[in-house]
């Protein structure tokens, strides 16, 4: 880092931010109960953003270019990269903004087994947790991937920022399969900041149960409008619409008209949404201290969030970019109660989409439960194509909770009167 700072100075660059990080990983890949491949990784990179100022028609301007450099580059190569980026920046002038306020702090270490023990051991423990679930009748783990990442990050800036921290994460994905009566599979992923072996075993057990149901699911879904239950990660993706629409980079160009104080949920018959953005790391890649931030309170927008530049443009305190949020609604109905009413519980999709621009959400259904007269029938096929702008008028959250690396909140969400294309559509 000191060499980079010295060479930036030598290149005549007075404004910069350097985000440097090193990653050490252990990775395991399985096919059924066989080891496919094992991998390890050691990399170090420096993302250097160089800034310059200009002026046009009496207005001060700011430009930037970012370039990634490596420790193995020679001084001459680094100088060349910095000078090239600085030269290019003159053609990319934007309205002026200040760089983030400087913060200095000692290294923030991460604690816990995941951060402290060798990543190879953690990868093995998570693999054991996953395969511990693989003892059910009628369904099994088809394949799995486990990644343990230990990361050390360091941000310095020309304004004097100097912060560093350690992060650890375990993530991965797996496919569960059932062969009878239909041969089907389902995909799940996971990510934790702790060595959460119990959560992974529980998630895999649930996935094995779902895939067994998918194997006997019928293509009987009729087209029409349904009350739809979304659960776990599909709730997370749907509610992130509010995170997208309140982001400074969406508001500044006018892609979102939302502003603090707006009742973004509008007139409602159901629950009013309360969301909080959660800091996963102590600092952003720009060195901005990350703090928990209330985003929505009872459907009213409380904050705008985002990187330094767009927050500065909007005249709000830069918050850094968030990767996690919580939905703080305690819920008004247990999930068990929710499932007693006629509805469609859409469990998994081939690819669930939430379009922040249009507000449309949905996808092709891999497994859903059609709930009628107290009976739950597994169904497959068909697709959901709803609009959150309509659905938000009448929402119900479950009192049951769900947590993963990017979300903490209700496990289930009931949305009313959602358009569903059934498997009967082909006959029309």
């Amino acid at each position: 880092m000191e060499r980079i700072k010295r060479l930036l100075k030598e290149a005549g660059i007075s404004d910069y931010i350097v985000y440097g990080y090193s990653e050490r990983t252990a990775e395991l890949f399985f096919v059924k109960k066989q080891l496919d491949t094992r991998r390890i990784k050691d990399v170090e990179k420096f993302n250097v953003t160089v800034y310059r100022t200009g002026e046009k028609d009496g207005k001060k301007l700011r430009a930037s270019t970012d370039v990634t450099v490596l420790a193995e580059m020679t001084d001459a190569e680094l100088l060349d990269a910095f000078k090239g980026a600085y030269f290019a920046a003159q053609f990319a002038m934007n309205p002026y903004y200040e760089l983030p306020d400087p913060v200095t702090a000692p290294l923030r270490e991460a604690t816990g087994k995941l951060a402290e023990q060798a990543p190879e051991l953690s990868a093995g423990e998570m693999a054991k947790a996953l395969f511990a679930a693989d003892c059910e009748e009628g369904a099994f783990l088809n394949s799995a991937e486990v990644f343990v990442i230990q990361k050390r990050a360091h941000v310095v800036s020309s304004r004097g920022a100097d912060v560093s921290w350690v992060e650890a994460e375990v993530k991965g994905e797996y496919v569960v399969q059932a062969k009878e009566p239909e041969d089907v599979e389902m995909y799940r992923d996971f990510a934790y900041t702790e060595l959460n072996t119990d959560a992974l075993t529980a998630q895999a057990k649930e996935a094995l149960m779902f895939v067994r149901d998918r194997a006997r699911a019928q293509k009987i879904l009729k087209s029409g409008n349904y009350d739809v239950i979304l659960t776990d990660e599909n709730v997370m993706m749907t509610l992130w619409f509010y995170g997208d629409r309140s982001a400074a980079h969406m508001i500044y160009p006018g892609y979102s008209s939302w502003k603090v104080g707006d009742d973004v949920q509008g007139e409602t018959r159901g629950e009013r949404i309360t969301l909080t953005l959660r800091a996963l790391a102590p600092y952003s890649k720009e060195g901005i201290p990350m703090r928990d931030l209330r985003l929505l309170e009872n459907g009213v927008m409380c904050a705008t969030h985002g990187s330094n530049r767009f927050c500065r443009y909007l005249g709000v305190e830069p918050t850094g970019d968030y990767r996690k949020y919580s939905c703080d609604n305690p819920g008004t109905m247990s999930f068990a109660e929710m499932k007693k009413r006629p509805c469609l519980w859409a469990v998994t999709f081939s690819g669930f989409e939430m379009d922040a621009f249009s507000g449309h959400f949905g996808g092709e259904i891999r497994l859903a439960y059609l709930i009628e007269n107290g009976r739950m029938t597994p169904v497959t096929g068909g697709s959901i194509n709803g609009s959150i702008l309509e659905a938000q008028k009448d929402l119900v959250f479950s009192t049951d909770r769900y947590a993963e690396i990017g979300y903490d909140g209700p496990y289930a969400m009931l949305l009313k009167n959602i358009p569903v294309a059934g498997t009967d559509a082909e006959e029309s």
Binding site: A26, K41, K45, L70, E125, D189, G363, A421
Partner: protein, 470 residues
């Protein structure tokens, strides 16, 4: 290009020699990349030289008694060899020792290491870096300003990005060296209908350089017109319809609906239905599908990331499924020849079976003949996303617009957004007309599941089929 690789190459060969004293097989893939993107929109002007994750680095592959093991690094010199070898030995053993009880190594033969030497340079007319940042930014600013004059346009997003790469693959008997350049551009028009934002876009791609930009400026009028069409669109009425797919939508069907299903690492896992259909009719006789490097597009490489030479793989021949595409590890496990489809997102990632340039051959019909043949149906345009389902051959593709066809004519009504669903062979067997002009588009990246992004292209011609829309 990327002289650094020439400097380290002798030391990489020494590393392989040292590793081969301990392991049954060793190879190294070394990569170097120069990337740049230019963007203009209401968010301002953005210029980045950072690229995606990855960039310059090395992946070392060895085979021991437990099977295939890899080490990714981005610093290397000859004096680091002892430390690298020690690190690999200790940490691979630690990974093996920590495995759950009952997990056994997957039986895998040694990779084919028959002698091969190759040196290939990138082909391009204009290096974007020589054209310069100023000229590229001037061009996209000009396009944006022109587009902003159209009615109901809230913003025009316009961008160019390019990547120049060099890869060297070394093993005891292989020395493969290739440099490569692709350039992409896109223009997107954005407008609002109340709280709902609509976007129409067009993408451009070339295996080459800034010569691509000559064609970009002329389309802005068409893009803003399509945006206005979308702003007046109606929600789709679900049903199965006669459809005409434009070449981009055909490409998405080729790639998402069928291509992923014939990636043969999925055969190893018993995750692809296609495995049971080799030799069977899976499509109309009008359908012949290829994947490979005999066309010039963004994914054209002479060798893959495992050192397998590439070529042309005929996946479907006049409706009959002939073979899948295969990476080297999967090929050894299946006892077939690899097809040069072992690709990595970067040196930091595992290689999987991945598509390259994937397309349907053309036929002899015209778009006009297809539309004229439809009593009631839709012309599908602007694919936005798709998701594979190799196990069940289910389709999930999204397109931006469906233009209504009634009694052989476009009515002017437009529906949006559209979800395509159904069973892949049903759709492919329903193909009743295939257009003559094949167009490939390489503006996007392809994921494996939800990660592992690699540059691909896909395409075909206008195609008529029955498709379930929602």
């Amino acid at each position: 290009m990327f002289e650094r690789l020439d400097t380290v190459k002798p030391a990489l060969k020494k590393l392989i020699a040292v590793l081969c004293e301990r392991y049954d097989y060793a190879s190294v893939l070394a990569t170097a990349e120069r990337y740049r993107s230019w963007r203009v929109s209401k968010n301002g002007i953005n210029l980045s030289a950072s690229g995606l994750d990855g960039g310059d680095g090395y992946v070392i592959r060895v085979f021991d008694r437990t099977g295939c093991a890899e080490y990714s690094i981005n610093a290397f010199s000859e004096d680091m060899i002892p430390a690298i070898v020690r690190e690999m030995q200790e940490r691979f053993e630690a990974e093996r020792a920590a495995l759950p009880e009952g997990i056994t190594p997957m039986p895998t033969a040694m990779p084919d290491d028959s002698p091969a030497v190759l040196k290939k340079e990138a082909k391009y007319e204009i290096d974007p870096m020589e054209l310069g940042d100023e000229a590229i930014l001037d061009l996209i600013r000009r396009i944006r300003e022109k587009g902003l004059k159209a009615e109901n346009v809230m913003d025009i997003m316009c961008g160019v990005n390019y990547s120049a790469e060099r890869k060297i693959f070394l093993s005891p008997h292989r020395d493969l060296d290739e440099s490569h350049m692709w350039t992409n551009a896109f223009v997107g028009a954005i407008g609002a209908r109340g709280e709902e934002i609509k976007e129409s876009y067009k993408g451009y791609s070339v295996l080459g350089g800034a010569e691509l930009l000559k064609t970009v400026e002329s389309d802005i009028g068409e893009i803003t017109k399509r945006l206005n069409d979308l702003l007046g669109s109606e929600p789709m009425i679900p049903g199965e319809y006669e459809c005409v797919c434009n070449p981009e939508v055909t490409g998405m069907i080729v790639h998402e609906a069928f291509g992923h299903g014939v990636e043969m690492d999925m055969f190893v896992k018993d995750r692809a239905q296609a495995k049971q259909f080799i030799g069977d009719y899976v499509a109309s006789p009008l359908v012949t599908m290829h994947d490979g490097s005999t066309v010039d597009e963004c994914a054209t490489w002479a060798f893959d990331d495992e050192g397998t030479l590439t070529g042309d793989t005929v996946i479907i021949d006049r409706g009959v499924l002939k073979t899948g595409m295969c990476d080297a590890l999967s090929a050894m496990r299946l006892g077939v020849k690899p097809t040069g489809n072992g690709r990595r997102e970067s040196y930091e990632r595992k290689a999987y079976t991945r598509m390259t340039n994937t397309y349907f051959e053309g036929g002899d019909a015209t778009k006009e003949e297809m539309i004229a043949s439809i009593k009631y149906g839709f012309l599908l345009e602007e694919p936005t996303s798709g998701m594979e389902d190799p196990k069940n051959w289910g389709i999930q593709c999204m397109v931006n617009s469906a233009r209504e066809i009634r009694d052989g004519k476009l009515t002017g009504r437009i529906f949006s957004p559209i979800v395509l669903t159904g069973y892949v062979p049903d759709l492919l067997k329903s193909v009743s007309m295939m257009g003559g002009k094949v167009e490939l588009a390489g503006g996007g990246y392809c994921g494996k599941g939800y990660k592992e992004w690699v540059k691909v292209s896909d395409g075909g011609a206008y195609m008529k089929a029955r498709i379930r829309l929602g």
